[in-house]
């Protein structure tokens, strides 16, 4: 079961983010940390955008997450999302890690139940093909807790 039904939207791991997706497959959400200046960044990139160091390490993402911003999409820009309308796109922030925000979706939320500042819990969605996606649910959503 996936937030979007169509497998066309699956990520295609390549050089910079292969390790990221491999960690996701192990149900570990990780972000890159620069070995030189220690800045944590996302999405994965082969060079630190702050100090240009090539020393790239990984840290576990914080578990505490909230809604920084969100939108409900009502117009399908691609056939594969037509059946999912309206769907949400959420910018997730981690209060203990201000340099990284993550784009994701809040599963099972209704347009009236999603607000900036809402607490979130991460859930893994296995979409097949060895790909697991980090998605979120409202922490107070009784259907899930």
């Amino acid at each position: 079961m996936s937030y979007f039904e169509d497998r066309d939207l699956a990520p295609d791991p390549n050089d910079d983010d292969e390790a990221y997706w491999a960690n996701c497959a192990q149900r570990r959400l990780t972000f890159q940390q620069c070995g030189a200046c220690k800045t944590v960044t996302h999405p994965p990139i082969s060079v630190c955008p702050h100090c240009q160091s090539l020393d790239r390490g990984w840290i576990e993402a914080p578990t505490e997450a909230t809604v920084f911003s969100f939108t409900w999409i009502h117009s399908a820009a691609h056939d594969s999302v037509t059946r999912s309308l309206p769907y949400n796109v959420v910018v997730v922030e981690f209060p203990s890690l201000p340099s990284v925000r993550l784009i994701s979706n809040v599963v099972d939320a209704e347009p009236t139940s999603l607000h900036i500042g809402d607490a979130l819990t991460m859930v893994w969605e296995d979409i097949g093909g060895g790909i697991l996606l980090p998605r979120f649910r409202l922490a107070a959503d009784s259907k899930w807790s």
């Binding site: 960044t41 996302h42 999405p43 955008p49 920084f68 911003s69 969100f70 939108t71 409900w72 999409i73 009502h74 117009s75 309206p86 796109v89 910018v91 201000p98 340099s99 990284v100 925000r101 784009i103 347009p111 900036i116």
Partner: protein
């Protein structure tokens, strides 16, 4: 990406849907006087605006620029050569292109921008440089043509280019300032939202018309016009044009 920025801006500063509607309505009103505008005789009311379909909250159909075919051109030459041209020349007081570091990663990573930068169009440093080059300030600008891919981004451009403080653009437009006859008329040909989407070059052409006194929504005695390039992307650009008079 734009809807996410605007949603956060609305939450942070109290922007209401009607504030974005005011941009759409003001520009459509300008287009109604411009026979070249695609939306020349297409009336837009607040009711029509709110009845239009949602695209990506908070953006409705009329918050998004059109898709249209069109062409325009500008001829740039030295002041000396321009002197005896058949058309009245307009002076480029300053023009600058600029990329702000936090915007360099573009839509794929821009959600990681620092908090203070997230709810902007990313043009404030560009604006500072532009005014410094021209030796002018926002108070010197008689009329402005903002890049208008989405209504809400025009609000953010009003702040980036110093016409109001951060978070005050909704109040600024509610007071009627951007209307023809207001304190700072904007996108006087209708802009990309209602004249045509010619990637903002049509806004530059309208800036020239204003300073020649040839606009269909002419601002009396317009001497300085601001024209801005695309916001929420890096690099961006902007120019200050002068009537030379």
């Amino acid at each position: 990406m734009i809807s996410l920025v605007l949603q956060r801006y609305a939450w942070q500063y109290g922007m209401e849907a009607g504030d974005m509607a005011e941009i759409a309505l003001a520009l459509r009103d300008n287009a109604s006087r411009n026979p070249r505008a695609v939306m020349h005789d297409r009336l837009l009311t607040l009711e029509t605006y709110f009845a239009s379909r949602m695209i990506a909250e908070p953006l409705r159909l009329y918050d998004c620029c059109m898709e249209s075919d069109g062409a325009c051109a500008v001829l740039v030459t030295s002041a000396e050569r321009a002197r005896d041209l058949a058309c009245r020349p307009v002076q480029v007081l300053a023009a600058t292109g600029y990329g702000e570091a936090d915007w360099g990663v573009g839509p794929m990573g821009s959600h990681n921008m620092p908090l203070g930068r997230y709810t902007t169009g990313g043009q404030s440093e560009l604006a500072r440089e532009l005014y410094a080059l021209a030796g002018l300030s926002p108070a010197d600008v008689d009329v402005a043509q903002f890049y208008d891919h989405f209504t809400g981004m025009v609000l953010l451009a009003l702040e980036d280019f110093g016409f109001c403080k951060i978070g005050e653009a909704p109040d600024f437009v509610r007071a009627g300032n951007i209307r023809w006859g207001g304190k700072l008329p904007i996108n006087t040909a209708g802009g990309c939202l209602s004249e045509a989407y010619v990637h903002g070059l049509n806004n530059l052409v309208e800036g020239v018309r204003q300073l020649r006194g040839e606009s269909t929504s002419q601002v009396p005695n317009a001497r300085v016009c601001l024209v801005t390039g695309g916001s929420a992307i890096s690099p961006s650009s902007a120019a200050l044009l002068g009537s030379g008079a």
